[in-house]
């Protein structure tokens, strides 16, 4: 029998930096996490936290002036951080698929979608032309596109935003990838369409036994989708744990602050709890803890020493000298 907690991806102390004229941007600075087979992990945090750069690093899509400085990205045992561009080219699409906020990142505006789907299958399967066509039609139907056979000849611009994202998901799933990296896949969509797409993504992932990293700024989306959450702040993991536990009982003051600043319809307050200040300039991070200028729990130690990500209890960790005690906020 297959072990359910078998690890598919292990990211270990990943550092991805950008060397710009204005200084070095340590966009991802010592990030570690692991992802089990079949697991959906939410990668969350405010903009600039390094979420997308983590995703791009896994996909081998970091271009100059960016560079993976150190660390490992072990995908089924193979270190992608050291893989050649040729090897990554084979892995992308086939083993690891990606879905971005703007579906046009993945679609070619000049070709009908049927041709783009067919290419994916030609590259990654040995089906003949008829077999491929049948697969494409079935996949389009699967993602909720009606009259699929006719739509094969349509160009991307002939679809609405929500429909285009469905096409992207269909293409992504064709090769039966083992890992899907979805970066804000529904952020540009309306809520009723978002609900449809999230449901579709979850079903596709579960049915094919794939794993997924869902990158989003929206904690509510993660609450509905993910098994585990990893919270990033200034390029570092500040908290990790099972979704429900992290949301109901956050340990890191940043996670607690984020959750408290979302208006809660079942507990309406006249004023929202707010995190003071703003994310610091990543090129001029404070000494000690990156969150200390905004943290209500900060003490002298926080200015001296940067906290390490430490296990709080089995399966949960936080990087904080004075973590919020259990029992919720």
């Amino acid at each position: 029998m297959k072990d359910m907690t078998e690890t598919l991806l292990r990211v270990d102390d990943l550092r991805t930096h950008f060397h710009t004229f204005a200084g070095t941007v340590k966009a991802v600075d010592g990030v570690s996490f692991s992802l089990a087979k079949g697991e959906i992990m939410g990668l969350v945090g405010e903009s600039g936290g390094g979420k997308s750069v983590v995703g791009f690093s896994i996909l081998g899509l970091i271009d100059s002036p960016g560079r993976i400085e150190s660390g490992q990205i072990l995908f089924d045992g193979e270190d992608l951080a050291k893989a050649s561009e040729d090897r990554m080219h084979k892995i992308r699409g086939k083993e690891i698929a990606m879905i971005f906020q703007d579906p046009m990142t993945s679609l070619n505006p000049l070709h009908p979608i049927g041709r783009q789907m067919d290419e994916m299958l030609r590259l990654h399967t040995d089906l003949d032309a008829r077999g491929r066509r049948a697969r494409c039609i079935r996949m389009l139907e699967d993602v909720g596109i009606s009259q699929a056979e006719d739509r094969l000849d349509s160009y991307p611009h002939q679809f609405s935003g929500g429909m285009r994202q469905r096409v992207v998901i269909a293409i992504a799933m064709l090769a039966e990838p083992r890992l899907i990296v979805a970066d804000e896949p529904t952020t540009a969509l309306d809520v009723t369409i978002q609900a449809q797409i999230l449901k579709l993504i979850r079903r596709q992932v579960r049915e094919h036994g794939a794993s997924m990293i869902l990158v989003t700024h929206d904690l509510a989306v993660v609450a509905e989708m993910a098994d585990h959450i990893t919270v990033l702040y200034c390029g570092k993991v500040v908290e990790r744990g099972p979704t429900r536990q992290v949301i109901d009982d956050p340990r890191h003051p940043y996670t607690a602050g984020l959750i408290a600043s979302i208006p809660d319809p079942s507990d309406r307050k006249h004023r929202l709890d707010q995190i003071p200040g703003a994310v610091p300039d990543i090129r001029k991070l404070p000494r000690g803890c990156n969150f200390r200028d905004r943290c209500p729990r900060a003490q002298a130690l926080c200015a001296e020493r940067e906290p390490d990500l430490e296990t709080q209890e089995p399966g949960r960790s936080a990087a904080c000298h004075f973590p919020v005690e259990g029992g919720g906020t």
């Binding site: 999230l198 700024h217 602050g257 979302i262 004023r271 995190i275």
Partner: protein
């Protein structure tokens, strides 16, 4: 008491036919020139009382911004009336509008696009007031006080918009709107582009200012948790129609229009287990270029029957300050899955 804002049967159509040449097409040897008209707002009525927050919600393209811009007279309405503090404003010239502008100001989703990049912050903030009074000394003093009130300092006054973060730019936009002591602020997705921690700061600021100055807001948003937090009353739009309005708690506890119900059940929440019973929608919003007959929502409504295609439901009082445009009100026995 006069309502701060009254909108009656507001209509906004945009002719997007293009030039004559674009319109020429041939059919059976005859030249046709079809007009293409976007029916963005289709007879919408609502009011905002003094000191009240009315939230306008609905998905993109449903006409929220068009309503806002038409009230702010960025567009001229193609039909209906708009009264601000009792005075009709449609058809007024720019000069006649000037005193009205001191009662009503607008803030936008993207403060960057709405702030002149070549102006310093102090000039941006002072501009509406100078337009009203021409008094530079007064404008200067007031600007300093306003910047302090929204959480910016004197040093910020000399900078340009690009030197600020998104949240700070929204503070500048708010200070500018406040400069003329308005009593109504039309806020079009003012926090939608901000990270949640910054969003909370801006929402708190807007609520504090409301308490302090007795402001009324027409607050446009697509985020229902934000709406629940800030609104006294909520108005739901779909495809340019108003489909439901109700006091906040009523709307969230007992939404009656099928679209409102679908919207509430689609919105992701931190606690999915507590979520309302799902009405799931399929399909997408029809084009505003060719509206469906009858009910605007019928192409996606799980309850639709033949009457819905034949007859457009009017927005009707259903008691307790709630108004709904749906035939189910007459035939509640059809309200079953």
């Amino acid at each position: 008491m006069t309502a701060m804002l009254e909108v009656e049967k507001l209509e906004q159509k945009f002719d997007v036919s293009g030039g004559l040449l674009d319109r020429l097409s041939f059919s059976g040897g005859r030249i046709l020139s079809p007009r293409r008209v976007v029916q963005a707002v289709n007879g919408v009525s609502f009011d905002v009382q003094q000191g009240e927050v009315l939230a306008l919600v609905g998905e993109s393209g449903c006409g929220k911004s068009t309503v806002a811009k038409t009230i702010a007279r960025i567009h001229n309405p193609t039909g209906g009336t708009i009264r601000i503090d009792g005075q009709e404003v449609q058809g007024l010239s720019d000069r006649e509008l000037l005193p009205v502008r001191s009662k009503m100001q607008m803030i936008f989703q993207d403060p960057y696009a709405s702030l002149n990049p070549r102006q310093r912050v102090r000039d941006i903030v002072a501009e509406p007031l100078l337009e009203q009074t021409g008094n530079r000394a007064e404008a200067r003093d007031k600007t300093e006080a306003l910047l302090a009130r929204v959480g910016l300092n004197a040093e910020h006054a000399g900078r340009y918009p690009h030197q600020f973060s998104g949240g700070q730019r929204q503070r500048i936009g708010i200070a500018r709107a406040l400069s003329v002591n308005p009593r109504l602020i039309i806020a079009d997705e003012p926090v939608s582009a901000l990270d949640v921690s910054i969003q909370a700061q801006i929402l708190n600021l807007m609520m504090d200012l409301r308490d302090e100055f007795g402001l009324a807001y027409l607050f446009i948003s697509h985020d229902l948790s934000v709406v629940h937090h800030i609104a006294d009353r909520v108005a739901v739009m779909y495809l340019g129609f108003m489909v439901e309005t109700a006091p906040r708690d009523t709307l969230f506890a007992m939404p009656r229009h099928p679209y409102t119900r679908a919207l509430l059940s689609a919105a992701p929440t931190l606690d999915p287990a507590k979520k309302a019973r799902q009405i799931e929608l399929t399909g997408e919003v029809p084009s505003a270029l060719s509206l469906p007959s009858g009910c605007c929502f019928r192409t996606r409504c799980p309850f639709a029957w033949d009457r819905c295609a034949a007859e457009r439901p009017a927005l009707r009082d259903t008691g307790d300050g709630q108004q709904v445009a749906c035939h189910l009100i007459d035939e509640p026995e059809r309200d079953k899955p």
